[in-house]
Amino acid sequence: MKILTCPLNGPRNIAEFTYGGQVKPMPNPTEATDQEWAHYVFYGDNHIGVVREWWMHTPSSYWFIVERHNQTDEVIRTYDPAELFDAGAAPATEPVAADT
């Protein structure tokens, strides 16, 4: 069993969580061109290494951020989205790991 640490509920079985996609900056929906919007919806950066993702603890509907290595499946860090989004709209820095 793989354990994921929820910032709200503590360490839980990963089966209790739902993956919600990469964290990426959203273009302004009223100003973005169709192509920009398509790019935002369908494309990710496909980077092999540590990625920043949305996850939800399904029973409590709590969304949070996971920094995970997408080749070794090692979870580096989990935290409340406020850490990223309270400061401004888009995350400023990319996640870093000890070895990527």
């Binding site: 079985n13 398509a38 369908f42 494309y43 496909n46 092999i48 997408n70």
Partner: protein, 415 residues
């Protein structure tokens, strides 16, 4: 016979000329007309049809590991064409027709076995969707019909018609459903291609793509630089990673897909049996093992590790369908990296780089498309970039134009 045996026994040399299926390693040439990145089924099939139908033989197939060792070796060897969209059904129906005569064409047995595929409906909504799939399939020349619960029971007597909470209402019976030896498909194509002069370079990893003025001019490998007239990228799980070397992204997310086989038992199951509600499909191989597979993992990963959760879920569903299987032991399990697109359809044809052709986004449906991918990609390359009608709906620019194919006729996946 005993005399012949004695003669052979006393002979120092093997009395027959030995012809290897594949030639030994050769040096990389400095120039190839066509470089194919990826020595899986799709790559070698493309080389084969280019050499056979278009007279182009100055081709290098570059494979970073060994022939057919990626997803060609990791699928569950199901061949079928009972999809939902016109674009998908038309394409896969052609593939099934090519598979039917592949052993004869190769003079090499791919162990093609057309035993039919039965997909189970557990809800009224699924029955309605199946009715549509049966009609679309028939329209394009496939053999598919909707059968009722009683006929399902007669077709597969060992099947539990009342899985917990999901009684079986009807089935989509696809007579063209088949299986083949997946390695033999890759070997057959590779043998045919190399006999016609194609160079298959194993242990040759592409590390860079040379582009001049928006046009591909060559590739760099761990064995040196090769210039080329054009490139075909057919690398399944690492599609988006390789395309980055050519300087453009792909709308692909890599998910692991896990499968497993049980110990071998006496033959009891002729068709493939698949249930979209239980997210599980089961078939028995010619060796007697039962192959169990389902949908991709719940979250992306560039890895082929296996998880207990997914195995538990699959086995629980398999045992619901065939309760006696609870007595069986698992023998092997494995995973592959699937390159999933958001509309469950491939990305084939032109790319933003001139002369750089794509065969990507093969997710969980790549093996069954191997022959038709070879044929259509060979046509694309030989014509210098004229996209064949059959693959036109799968172009990369469909995402920017919101013109997705929306193929939802997956066998037991969660979509």
């Amino acid at each position: 016979m005993p005399f012949l045996l004695l003669k052979f026994g006393l002979n120092k040399d093997y009395p027959f000329e030995q012809i290897a299926d594949l030639p030994g390693p050769t040096d990389l040439k400095s120039h190839y007309d066509v470089v194919i990145i990826g020595g899986g089924g799709h790559g070698v099939a493309t080389a084969y049809y280019l050499a056979k139908y278009h007279g182009i033989t100055n081709i290098a197939v570059l494979e970073k590991a060994y022939l057919g060792g990626g997803n060609t070796a990791r699928n569950t060897a199901v061949i079928r064409s009972n999809y939902l969209t016109s674009a998908g059904v038309r394409f896969y129906t052609e593939s099934v027709k090519l598979y039917e005569r592949l052993s004869n064409e190769f003079d090499f047995n791919i162990m093609y076995s057309q035993r039919g595929q039965l997909t189970l409906a557990h809800t009224d909504a699924t029955v309605r969707a199946f009715r549509q799939r049966a009609e679309v399939n028939k329209h394009f020349g496939g053999r598919t019909e909707l059968i009722d619960r009683q006929a399902v029971g007669e077709l597969v007597p060992s099947l539990n018609l009342d899985p917990t909470g999901a009684p079986i209402l009807a089935g989509l019976w696809h007579l063209d459903g088949a299986t083949a030896r997946h390695d033999a498909v890759a070997w057959g194509y590779a043998k045919g291609a190399t006999q016609r002069g194609v160079d298959l370079h194993q242990l040759t990893e592409v590390t860079g793509v040379d582009i001049e003025a928006g046009r591909v001019t060559g590739v760099q490998t761990n064995r040196g630089k090769v210039s080329c007239g054009c490139v075909v990228q057919a690398v399944s799980g690492l599609s988006a990673d390789v395309s980055k070397m050519a300087g453009f992204p792909l709308p692909i997310v890599a998910y692991p897909l896990q499968a497993m086989v049980t110990q071998p038992v006496k033959p009891f199951l002729d068709p493939h049996v698949s249930s979209s509600a239980l997210h599980c499909y089961v078939h028995q191989t010619s060796r007697g093992e039962i192959v169990i597979g389902g949908g991709s993992d719940p979250y992306p990963l560039y890895g082929t590790r296996s998880t207990l959760e997914l195995k538990e879920g699959l086995i629980a569903s398999a045992v619901e369908m065939f309760p006696f299987m609870s007595q069986m032991r698992l023998m092997r399990q494995w995973a592959g990296i699937t390159d999933m697109t958001s509309d469950y359809s491939p990305i084939m044809g032109l790319s933003p780089v001139e002369n750089y052709y794509l065969d990507a986004g093969w997710g969980t449906w790549g093996f069954k498309a191997t022959p038709i991918c070879g044929v259509t990609l060979a046509e694309l390359v030989a014509s210098g970039g004229k996209v064949p009608d059959l693959i036109a709906p799968f172009s990369l620019d469909r995402f920017d134009a919101f013109r997705q194919v929306n193929e939802t006729g997956a066998t037991a996946a969660s979509h």
